[in-house]
């Protein structure tokens, strides 16, 4: 949902063309898992990252550098299973019980769970962990996900030691996914800050900034015999080019950063790496925004003209086919996605005609902002050319990330942007609330088109109150149709991600929402029993 998430997703944008376009599951073509199907025990998994994690504190974790550690050190009420976008109970014992009005969530905890120091995990620990997100002193970047909780931190209570209750101010069928986010991890009451105590499959041994993180297997983990490996060593400060060499050489088992753009084709064309490479659909959309409050994009005809300008298949060639043309705003696999074609193919004549109807027969000049990194710098010139064909002269402005967020979020500053969104969870509300809602059309927000349509907002809220996914999808499709009729954004393509792993890794699978599933990976040279 936020800047950091976008940075993560940009990193993940190294990915290849895919065949199966199904809901975030493994590509049918992919060799998927390596190392047989029988888990082995013991051994050390070695991975490499370019950057240090910003934090070990769940309440402030919202980027790729800390996510994998959250998943290793802590448990959440719910977590994603395997390579799917489905959640299953983890620290909870079952699905949440939701009251008939959709406003009260009652969650029973799994019995017998303990923190790594031996103390039992209770509902009070959850109240403490979630309460920290609301505390301004925590400076949590993820507080926005919790605004639906009635009365803020007061809405979260422990009914007894094993029962947690959360009161909402409006029905929100996507809230269960928030409970599966990294920041919703449980830590022991009173241990927030630098060294939280968790109940996860691993415990932190030590962190030497710039050098390494070592975690050991939590021998008392509730989900025995998992985790399979005894130790995970995370090498830090490793350049991705060098990490790739290390992986090929066998020094490391997994790469924490995406395959560098320059090495991407070498890896995907390398026959010996074929069995160790996997590509999945990343639930993400790359799109162009037009500021509906700025001339000439305040004219719906102008925006419509732009929606006919782009050649999606050609754009994908520029990113080595890492994705699939967008047929609507939401990516496949997200609740609310429809296979119906709602985007417009390139039609220069029609676009020109619309521009003349709008009063711009000779076009106009404008500016388009994006990040100054790959793949944006590869895409910008082509978008420029496509728009030149209909008479719009685009001044391309690739800028540094933090500058981009500042400029694009300032009213009247950025007429057009080229940007993207990766799902925090598989529900359309995640693509609407922060990006296209009236509430987000504020300075410093991420509604870069400054788009506000009460009807679309109402439909999204209606979908959140729907009784099941099918009913929600129906309403979301209406919302998407209503929104795309206004053309505040032009969806371009859906991204995918390619990962490479060492032969020594057993049970490997990618996770579309999370990074790794270290609990379920093993070393192929491990022992048959513990």
């Amino acid at each position: 949902m936020a800047a950091r998430k976008l940075i993560l997703a940009a990193l993940l944008s190294g990915a290849v063309g895919l065949t199966a376009a199904c809901a975030g599951t493994s590509d049918a073509d992919s060799p998927a898992t390596g190392g047989g199907t029988t888990a082995k025990y013991g051994g050390t998994m070695t991975v490499a990252y370019q950057s240090d994690p910003k934090t070990f504190d769940p309440a402030v974790c919202y980027d790729a550098t800390c996510w994998n550690n959250m998943r290793m050190l802590y448990d959440r009420l719910y977590d994603y299973t395997g390579d799917t976008m489905n959640i299953a109970p983890q620290a909870a014992s079952a699905e949440p019980e939701v009251s008939a009005d959709g406003l009260t969530y009652t969650i029973k905890l799994r019995s017998g769970m303990t923190f790594s120091d031996g103390k039992p995990v209770t509902a009070k620990d959850f109240v403490y962990s979630f309460g920290r997100i609301f505390d301004p002193a925590t400076k949590s970047p993820v507080q926005g996900f919790w605004t639906g909780v009635a009365g803020g931190a007061k809405g979260i209570t422990a009914v007894d030691d094993t029962t947690l209750q959360i009161k909402m101010s409006a029905p929100n069928s996507a809230f269960k996914y928030v409970l599966a986010m990294p920041h919703s991890s449980v830590i022991e009451d009173g241990t927030g800050g630098n060294q939280p105590v968790g109940s996860g499959p691993f415990t932190l041994d030590h962190f030497t900034p710039g050098q390494e993180i070592v975690v050991n297997r939590n021998t008392k983990y509730w989900d025995s015999p998992r985790p399979y490996v005894d130790k995970v060593v995370e090498k830090l400060g490793v350049d991705p080019h060098v990490a790739l060499l290390s992986l090929q050489k066998g020094d490391i088992d997994l790469m924490g950063d995406p395959i560098p753009a320059a090495d991407y084709l070498t890896v995907t064309n390398n026959a010996s790496l074929k069995a160790q490479t996997t590509t999945i659909v990343k639930p993400s959309t790359y799109f162009v925004t037009m500021n509906t409050k700025m001339k000439p994009f305040d004219n719906p005809k102008v925006r419509e003209a732009v929606s006919y300008a782009f050649d999606r298949n050609f754009l994908l060639k520029l990113v080595a086919g890492q994705g699939k043309p967008a047929n609507e705003y939401l990516p496949p696999g997200i609740t609310g996605y429809t296979e119906e074609k709602l985007t417009h193919d390139q039609d220069i004549a029609k676009a020109k005609q619309l521009l003349s109807e709008a009063g711009y027969p000779n076009g106009f000049s404008t500016e388009m902002y994006s990040w100054n990194t790959s793949p944006w710098t590869a895409l910008l010139p082509q978008l420029q050319q496509d728009l030149a064909k209909i008479g719009i002269t685009v001044n391309a402005k690739p800028v540094q990330q933090s500058a981009f967020f500042d400029l694009a979020g300032t009213p009247g500053k950025a007429p057009m942007t080229l940007t993207f969104w990766v799902a925090d969870y598989p529900d359309a509300s995640d693509f609407y609330q922060a990006l296209l809602s009236c509430a987000a059309a504020i300075p410093g927000g991420q509604n870069y088109p400054f788009y506000c349509n009460k009807n679309v907002d109402d439909l999204v809220n209606k979908a959140l109150a729907a009784k099941d996914n099918a009913a929600a999808t129906e309403v979301y499709v209406q919302a998407t149709k209503a929104m795309l009729a206004d053309n505040p954004v032009v969806p371009l393509y859906y991204g995918s991600k390619t990962e490479v792993f060492n032969k020594t890794v057993g049970g490997y699978h990618s996770q579309p929402i999370w990074g790794w599933d270290m609990t379920n990976y093993w070393k192929t040279d491990g022992a048959a029993s513990r």
Partner: protein, 308 residues
């Protein structure tokens, strides 16, 4: 000597003051709100405001600048925005030994490779060796260090396992040889050229002819008489390089995964970590100024004419 110092010290302080001012202003002029970076674009206005207040960003730029200067003089360079709770001074303090090791070894490589090549090239100007070294130093000068580094890693760490691929742990020297060699190779080209030029000039002097006429061995002429003329320009370059490298060599440290000041700066720029950027720039400037001062002092010690 003390009068010389008295004159040079204030100059050094003025330079440092200028660098701090520029670094401070430039990081604050760049668009991007640090509070948003800390709290995320999702944070409520109240959270952002409280962070602004906590960081003092709600005060005037002049006040912030004054506060920064006042604290910097006391050795407090603030707290990192990105690595929350880490003081800038301690982060740089931890990274410094790594950068220092790379810097010293890098300069050593420069001298060890550059000076002998320069001497040989000067001794037989336009000879095969001279031409070869001219060409070689051109390559050394032109090769981008990250490319050279990756190439060396590929050959000496990936293809053959002479050196480790990346990281920094005991025995540290194994992790330092390749990066410092990469660093030194580019610089050695400069040293070779400098040595060659100065040696050539010296070799044409009348005293060399005299020495030769009285039958002095060539090695003595070269090393005792001529090489001395190269020492002062060499010393200048050495000092400057050392000061420059101590501030962290971003590219080398990133490629080889060394947790030095350069890597710290590189990461800080990516996250708009203003206190870290300003702190790192200040340190880098400090090293250059200090090394400059030391070189000048060494000059003064060698050559009495400079003292005036």
């Amino acid at each position: 000597m003390s009068r010389f110092l008295l004159r040079r010290l204030p100059q050094a302080l003025i330079v440092l003051f200028g660098v701090v001012t520029l670094a401070f202003l430039m990081t604050h002029v760049v668009p991007g709100d640090p509070a948003r970076l800390i709290a995320g674009p999702n944070a409520s206005a109240a959270t952002v405001a409280s962070i602004h207040h906590e960081l003092g960003l709600d005060r005037s730029l002049g006040y912030q600048y004054w506060t920064y200067l006042r604290q910097a003089v006391q050795g407090d360079l603030g707290t990192s925005y990105a690595l929350q709770g880490t003081s800038v001074a301690s982060a740089i303090g931890h990274a410094l030994p790594v950068s220092a090791a790379v810097a010293v070894l890098g300069v050593l490589w420069e001298v060890l490779l550059g000076v002998p090549i320069g001497i040989i090239a000067a001794y037989r100007p336009r000879g095969l060796l001279d031409r070869a070294t001219t060409f070689g130093s051109l390559i050394g000068l032109s090769a981008p260090p990250f490319w050279l580094g990756l190439l060396l890693l590929y050959a000496l760490a990936y293809k053959s396992s002479v050196f480790p691929l990346s990281g920094y742990s005991n025995p540290y020297i194994n992790y330092l040889i390749l990066p410092s060699f990469t660093l030194g190779l580019g610089g050695a080209a400069w040293y070779a050229r400098l040595t060659r030029t100065n040696m050539l000039e010296a070799l044409r002097s009348p005293y060399v002819q005299t020495a030769r006429a009285k039958g002095m061995p060539e090695s003595v002429i070269l090393l005792r008489h001529c090489l001395r003329n190269v020492l002062s320009p060499l010393l200048t370059m050495l000092g400057m390089d050392l000061g420059y490298f101590l501030g962290g060599v971003v590219v080398i440290e990133s490629v080889f995964g060394l947790p030095g000041v350069g890597k710290l700066t590189f990461d800080a720029i990516g996250t708009l970590d203003i206190p870290m950027i300003t702190g790192a720039v200040l340190f880098a400037a400090l090293f250059i100024v200090v090394m400059n001062l030391l070189v000048d002092l060494a000059y003064a010690a060698i050559d009495p004419r400079v003292r005036r």
